[in-house]
């Protein structure tokens, strides 16, 4: 075996097909898109080289900056919610329910497999008002309050979008973190208990530090997924009211495909990629510092 993998030619033969596919379908499109961000136009009108014009446009484009804010805000709030609730659920599985957690794990994980658009339509009908009033407003009415039109305000739409994201994905993060918690040796927890640590102190001084790597992975996972949020906000309220909940991905889609400005659309995609990179590196950096501390 060693002889086979020690031979450079064999390695090359084995790697080449995969590498070729990877380059063709991943590297080339990415480089293509990167190149497109220096051009303006579309496949029909033709492309014109504009240098850094698209980048200067981006930073003076109110709609683009607003979308950037929406993406960042959504990513931060959704990540805090997903990871916190996921972690609490994981602690519940491991320390309270223990072996009896299988049913709850499955039940909480289940919304993850539902299509996002279907979930968005479900939540939209939950909070609807008027002729087809949903259960949320029925409850508000029953409690003596007036119906709230969630989809008419930015905060209302955002709240529903966040609730929806939490409902559908916290089960996934719970399972991810649960596997991390299972890796903590029982002896460590036991010795902690013997030393007098229990409840919150045990979690704070033993569990969290030992599950920090998987916790950081979850944060990076969550940030990257929520920064690229598209279908849920589109299906929920079409990025509205107005364009106040339109994330960068939706603005990118509209720019490229509805307004046929492929060059500027690629610039927005590049900004989004850089944003994901910055967030990931920031989390990595802070984790390394913690470990060094």
């Amino acid at each position: 075996m060693n002889r086979v993998f020690g031979d450079r030619k064999t390695i090359l033969i084995l790697l080449l097909p995969t590498l070729a596919i990877y380059v063709l379908f991943k590297v080339v499109p990415v480089a293509w898109s990167l190149g497109l961000s220096f051009f303006e136009g579309n496949t029909l009108r033709g492309f014109e080289f504009v240098g850094f014009d698209n980048f200067t446009t981006f930073f003076s484009d109110g709609a683009a900056l607003q979308s950037l804010r929406v993406s960042v805000m959504f990513a931060i709030l959704a990540t805090i919610g997903q990871v916190t609730f996921g972690y609490l659920l994981a602690l519940l599985y491991v320390f309270v329910l223990r072996k009896g957690s299988a049913f709850l794990r499955t039940a909480v994980f289940f919304p993850m497999v539902l299509p996002t658009v279907a979930v968005a339509l479900l939540f939209r009908s939950f909070v609807s008002v008027g002729d087809t009033q949903g259960p949320v407003n029925e409850i508000i009415n029953a409690a003596g309050g007036e119906s709230v039109e969630f989809m008419a305000s930015t905060s209302g739409t955002m709240a529903v979008a966040l609730a929806m994201t939490l409902w559908s994905s916290m089960g996934f993060y719970a399972v991810l973190l649960y596997t991390g918690l299972l890796d903590i040796p029982d002896e460590v927890i036991e010795s902690g208990r013997l030393d007098g640590a229990s409840g919150l102190r045990l979690v704070r001084h033993i569990i969290i530090p030992l599950s920090l790597p998987i916790l950081l992975s979850s944060i990076i996972f969550s940030l990257n997924a929520t920064l690229k949020v598209f279908d849920s906000l589109l299906a929920l309220n079409n990025g509205g009211p107005g364009t106040s909940t339109a994330p960068l991905t939706l603005y990118m889609y509209r720019t490229a495909f509805e307004y046929a400005e492929y060059g500027y659309g690629s610039t927005i995609a590049l900004v989004l990629t850089l944003l994901c990179l910055v967030f990931t590196l920031t989390v990595f950096r802070s984790s390394r510092q913690r470990v060094e501390d």
Partner: protein
């Protein structure tokens, strides 16, 4: 580490070079000339998923009146989601693979649009005149098409008027007659509210059912050339007479004319609200006739459906005789495949579509009806009579906007109607977008 970095540089540079070279190759593929080309292997027709009527009526023609043309060049249908039209047609056109007859975005087919500038749309007036079939296009429809698209580049498969559908029974119950001025419309709305009726059913989720009201107020206030002045930069949406349109819509919304939850109301639900008697009025197009004439949907009865123009604005330069009209989505033809067989197909469509669509689906088109059609529902007759009286038409609020401003007008209208945006902010943002596209 150093050697590794050095090795990466040429790779990155190579990739960048490949990208730029391929992109410039792409950029070089510019406009191709129009003009009659050779016939394709089939008469491919690209229509929107949302418009099932058009496919059904064209298929009916292929089986009956246009059987000979269909045998010479069989018809093949291709479909697209209406929202994907611009993307799909742009790609097909850039690959020289446009179907013979296809749906296109409004801005694309204009002389300065991507297809118009590249000479990728047929001038139907020229083609049908040569074929001796031009008199099958109603002059009013031709004028509407030319006005909206800047040339005769679309066939008028529909000819729609827009106005206010109203429930005669509710009007009689409250003691109202057709409002003649916008102030009377507001007063009627207040009376309806006081009597416990919702005045309007407008689908806020779609955006345009609300922006149309801004546009109509402006046409009545400024005159029929109001939006051309905006396009040509002779006036601004922030001028007081234009601003009044946004103020009028906001006032209607704040008075509660559109009912609870109108922001997320979908078009079908709004139509159902009107046809079940839950709302007294609905600003909509005559395309709603297919719903109104459907006994299952129409619970208020055909005899209780009235249709009136958007009323005058006192002291305004426009008039109720100027009906907003449109000729459906753009249906262009590809000049590269417009050979004799395709021309024969288009000629047959022009001669027979009017009668076919009216008798089979009750659809009013911009084609002459060459034959007698009986059993036309009362409401369709009413609209036919209105069309016959029309001398002058206007477009709609966003008709002459670029794609981005068009979208902005619809998305921001929610903020305007819920008071999260002032009329000044709404119009200023829209005008800025129009200016940026110039």
């Amino acid at each position: 580490m150093v050697s590794r970095r050095n090795r990466r540089k040429p790779t990155a540079a190579g990739l960048a070079l490949v990208t730029v070279v391929t992109l410039s190759a792409c950029g070089g593929d510019d406009a191709t000339d129009g003009g009659a080309g050779g016939d394709p292997e089939a008469f491919t027709v690209l229509t929107a998923n949302e418009n099932a009527t058009l496919e059904a009526q064209l298929t009916a023609l292929a089986e009956n009146q246009c059987k000979a043309e269909n045998e010479a060049l069989p018809m093949e249908h291709q479909k697209t989601a209406q929202a994907d039209t611009v993307q799909k047609v742009t790609l097909l056109a850039s690959q020289d693979s446009l179907p013979a007859h296809f749906i296109a975005g409004t801005a694309m087919v204009r002389p300065d649009g991507d297809l118009g500038a590249a000479g990728k749309v047929v001038d139907y007036e020229e083609l049908l005149t040569e074929a001796g079939a031009w008199d099958n296009i109603l002059p009013a429809a031709a004028s509407t098409v030319e006005h909206i698209y800047g040339g005769m580049v679309s066939l008028p498969y529909q000819y729609n008027l827009e106005g206010i559908w109203y429930n005669k029974a509710i009007f009689a119950e409250v003691g109202l007659s057709e409002p003649q001025t916008f102030d009377q419309l507001l007063a009627a709305g207040e009376e309806l509210l006081a009597a416990g009726h919702q005045p309007f059913a407008q689908a806020g989720a779609a955006g345009w059912p609300l922006t149309r009201i801004i546009g109509m107020y402006i046409f009545r206030n400024v005159g029929p050339d109001a939006m051309e002045k905006i396009r040509d930069g002779e006036a601004s949406l922030t001028d007081p007479e234009y601003l009044a349109g946004a103020e009028a819509l906001q006032q209607m919304a704040e008075s509660g004319f559109f009912g609870e939850g109108f922001i997320s109301l979908e078009p079908d639900a709004a139509t159902a609200a009107f046809l079940s008697g839950r709302a007294a009025m609905k600003y909509d197009g005559t395309w709603a006739l297919s719903n109104i004439n459907d006994e299952e949907q129409n619970q208020i009865g055909l005899e209780n459906v009235g249709f009136m123009p958007f009323p005058d604005v006192e002291g305004g330069a426009g008039s109720v005789d100027q009906w907003p009209a449109n000729a459906g989505a753009a249906m262009a033809a590809n000049p590269d495949t417009a050979g004799p067989k395709v021309t024969a197909w288009l000629e047959c469509i022009a001669e027979n579509y009017g009668e076919q669509a009216l008798s089979d689906a009750g659809v009013l088109s911009g084609f002459r009806v060459n034959g007698e059609v009986t059993d036309i529902p009362e409401t369709t007759k009413l609209v036919q009579e209105k069309i016959a009286e029309i001398d002058e038409t206007v477009a709609w609020f966003e008709a002459l906007f670029d794609a981005k401003s068009n979208s902005l007008a619809s998305t921001n209208v929610t903020l305007l109607t819920t008071g999260q945006m002032t009329p000044e902010q709404y119009m200023t943002e829209l005008q800025a977008s129009i200016d940026a596209a110039r």
